[in-house]
Structures are given as C-alpha cells and as structure tokens.
C-alpha cells in the first residue's frame, strides 16, 4: 500500500518550485521524514494552513521514490500563540531546529514525539517559555542517549565531594569531582540548587513544570549548563539561537495609549 497515515509535527518548510513546499516532519510512527506538499503556497490550497512550522497534523502521504507526497492534511493543533508572540516563536523555532538537528530520518521515537508536542503546548500557553525550553533541552539529552550524570563524578565514577559547589563538564557528560575538574578545563561552576533543578527537568512530568520556581541565578546556570551540553553534541551553531538572542535584545514593546481604531482596523497585538 503506497498510501499511509502519520501524526506529525511540522519542523520546517522550504519553498519548492512555483507553488510547492518541501516539509520536514517529525512523526509519531516514522520519526523524521520529508514530504512534498504540492500547491501548498497557493492561497486556496487545502494544505496551506497545516504545512507551517510547529503545526500538529494528521497526514495522508503517498510513498514516492525520493519524497513522499502529502495528499491530505488535518490540523490537530495549530499552536496559534507561537505565531503571535515573538519570544514564544523564537523558543519554538529553537526547539524544532534542535529536533531537526539531532534526529535521523525514519528513526521513530514516540517519547521524543510526545515530548516535542508537550513542549510546544507549554511554549504556546505556559507563562514561562524559557523554562519549557530548558526542560526540552534536558529531556532531549536523555532521549538521545546523553543523560547527564548528576549523582557521581562523570569522570572517575567517584564521590562528588561534600562541598556544596558542583562542576559540570559537557565533555565528561555530567558533574565532575574536584580532582577530575582540573582536567576538564571547560567545566562550569554550578550551585546545589541548579543540580536539583536539572534533576527535576530530567525526570519530572511535563505537566509538573509549574512547581519549579528557579531563581534568576539558577535559571542562568541551567541555561549555561544545557547550552554547553548541546554545543558539545552538535558542534554547529543553530541558526535559531541567533534569532533567540536577537529577540532578547529587542526592546519590549512600550505600552502606548492608542487612539480609537478605525472601522474594521485592529491594531496589531503583541
């Protein structure tokens, strides 16, 4: 049977030819795959709405020699807020970029699919998209087989020492003891609170993200640790990271008193 169904999240799209799109999907059934959505750039296309990044869709695809052709598309969740808020959009772009970078084609991982979906939910509706991104970074480490070692020294398997200060080494793959730390020149100093928060991000239920209330200090350390862990794994700077940084630097919208909008004209919402 050449026609098959998948449930997937659209990771990215690329224009192809006059009106087509090549889409990169992460599906529950088959993992990452590429498909061609014919005519998806025409305004009246049935596929246009669904063939956009971050959309959760159910698809019918025709198996082709190189690319599969999207024949039908039903939107399960569009995650609208991701397209209506610059910060959320930047975080979601980074998350899908990371998935695209670390996964191989046709290598299904249902846990990864569900984690991605859960993260997009949090990014769209949770108050703290930054923390959702940290959680995803941590979970993806586990799902790709790089679970950071937090209970003993990742270098010598010995004790981490009684001192509350901890050192994280991306190269060693976790915390390192004071002795091993000397060799790990890029190790990052972290507090006990950060280690506990990281442990929570690695294991807790996605819906229990709300109980975590890290201080600014811990948040900064979490970001540094997870950034270092991923930089070590992927070796190539992700383009979406530059955008995330640019969004951070853009001044937040100054709230201004707006005059009454003209008939039928709605001022753009942030």
């Amino acid at each position: 049977m050449a026609l098959y169904k998948v449930e997937a999240v659209v990771l990215r799209t690329r224009e192809y030819g006059e009106a087509d799109k090549i889409v990169t999907l992460y599906s529950r059934e088959e993992g990452k795959l590429h498909g061609i959505a014919k005519g998806a750039r025409r305004p009246r296309s049935r596929l246009a709405g669904g063939m956009q990044p971050f959309t959760h869709v159910r698809l019918m695809l025709w198996r082709g020699r190189n690319l599969d052709t999207v024949s039908q598309c039903e939107i399960v969740a569009a995650f609208g807020p991701l397209r209506e808020d610059l910060t959320r959009l930047a975080h979601a772009s980074y998350v899908v970029d990371l998935v695209d970078e670390v996964t191989r084609e046709r290598d299904a991982n249902q846990d990864l699919f569900l984690t991605l979906l859960g993260t997009l939910h949090l990014l769209a509706w949770d108050q703290r998209p930054v923390l959702a991104t940290r959680m995803f970074e941590a979970r993806l480490l586990v799902l790709s087989g790089f679970r950071p070692v937090l209970d003993q020294c990742a270098g010598c398997q010995g004790s981490l020492g009684a001192d509350g200060r901890r050192w994280f080494s991306a190269a060693a793959g976790g915390l390192v003891c004071p002795n091993c730390r000397v060799r790990e020149r890029h190790a990052i100093a972290v507090s006990g609170g950060t280690v506990a928060a990281l442990g929570h991000l690695l294991t807790a239920d996605l819906r229990r993200l709300g109980v975590l209330r890290p201080s600014t200090q811990i948040e900064r350390e979490l970001e540094a640790v997870l950034r270092a862990a991923w930089d070590y794994r992927i070796e190539r700077p992700l383009r979406s990271l530059a955008f995330l940084a640019a969004v951070r630097e853009t001044p937040p919208p100054a709230k201004v008193a707006k005059g009454p909008p003209a008939q039928g004209v709605r001022p753009e919402e942030d």
Partner: protein
C-alpha cells in the same frame, strides 16, 4: 556536443532560468533561432536593459528605473500611510487592488529564525529612518500570512512602537479567500476569519 557551440551556450543559459529544464531550454532556443533576427535582438536588448537600468529606489527600495521611483514621487499619493511588504512583486499585487493610495516600503525578504535570516538582513533600519521625520502616521504590515511573515510583522510592530510610539501599526486581515468555499477552508484560516469578523 551535438549542437553548434553558440546554440549549446544558449541552451545552457536558458536552463539556468527557474522552472526551465533541458528539454524546455532546447525548445526555447530553437524557437529563438527560427524567429527573425531583430526579434532575438530585441529580446537580448530587453534583458540587458532590465539588468542595467533597474535599481532599487532610495526611499521605498522597490525596483525602479528612476530614483525616487514613480510611486514615491507621485504627489497625489497619501504620504501618511506606509505599507510594508516583503518583495517588489508584493507592491505590484497591492497596486492591482487600486484600493491603496499610500506609499510602500519593500523589505526584500522576511525574518526566518530557522534559516538564519534576521532583521539585519532586511531593509529594517531604512524603514525606521523613514518613520523618524514624522510624516507617516500609520504603518500597514502586509507581510505574508505564514510563520516568517508573522515573525517579521511582530518584530516590526515591537520595534516601531518602541522608537516611534506615535505611529499607528496595523496588520492586514487574514481569512477566507473571495470566491472560496467555507467547507474547504482549513481550520487555522477559518478561525482567523472568525476572529477578524466585522459587523454588517
């Protein structure tokens, strides 16, 4: 090579055009060869003229052969409205409506977080500079209704509000295509149409 060298070169050049494969290129080349010499001359002349005479307008950054372009120098146009579009062909699309009488600003692209296209790669600084003289009272963000276009619109809205708070920023509506069929509209489009409903 089966073809004489000049013909092969022509076919090769035509193959570089978008949507033209080797077979089509061959057909076009032989069509050109069959036509009178002055027609081929005119075609070649038109290509060279377009390439050498067209520049981007120093004000709106649309493609033009005069600087400032005809739209920017047209005194009858409303100078308080500025419509921001992604590409020069979007200006043509807006002009076809005959509804809009303001000025334009062409960004030459859209912000794309996943492709590494940021605000610095677009004509954003030039847009902000145009707003500073105070003549523009409304900016209409007419970027495409896809993720890249939305990202660009959100970014510009944020930026314009912070540097020139007096300027009103609006976004073109998203919804059902005229002559379309409700049943065949996708969920996102339909919900956008519902969101942007108007009183009759």
């Amino acid at each position: 090579m089966i073809y004489p060298e000049p013909v092969a070169r022509l076919i090769d050049a035509l193959t570089r055009l978008p949507g033209i494969g080797p077979k089509t290129a061959q057909r076009l080349a032989f069509f050109i060869l069959k036509r009178p010499a002055d027609e081929a001359q005119a075609l070649a002349g038109a290509i060279v003229a377009a390439r050498t005479q067209v520049v981007t307008c120093s004000r709106c950054h649309n493609l033009t052969d005069t600087d400032p372009c005809r739209l920017c120098s047209d005194e009858s146009r409303d100078r308080t409205m500025l419509c921001v579009v992604q590409e020069p062909r979007d200006v043509a699309a807006m002009e076809r409506t005959r509804e809009y009488r303001g000025l334009y600003h062409v960004l030459h692209g859209a912000i794309s977080p996943l492709d590494g296209v940021g605000p610095d790669d677009l004509r954003v600084r030039e847009l902000v500079a145009r707003l500073h003289d105070g003549s523009v009272s409304e900016v209409i963000l007419a970027t495409n209704p896809n993720v890249e276009g939305e990202a660009t619109a959100l970014y510009l809205a944020r930026l314009i509000r912070s540097v020139t708070p007096a300027v009103r920023v609006t976004r073109i509506a998203r919804g059902l295509p005229v002559g379309g069929d409700l049943e065949y509209a996708d969920e996102v489009t339909l919900s956008k149409a519902l969101e942007g409903r108007r009183e009759l």
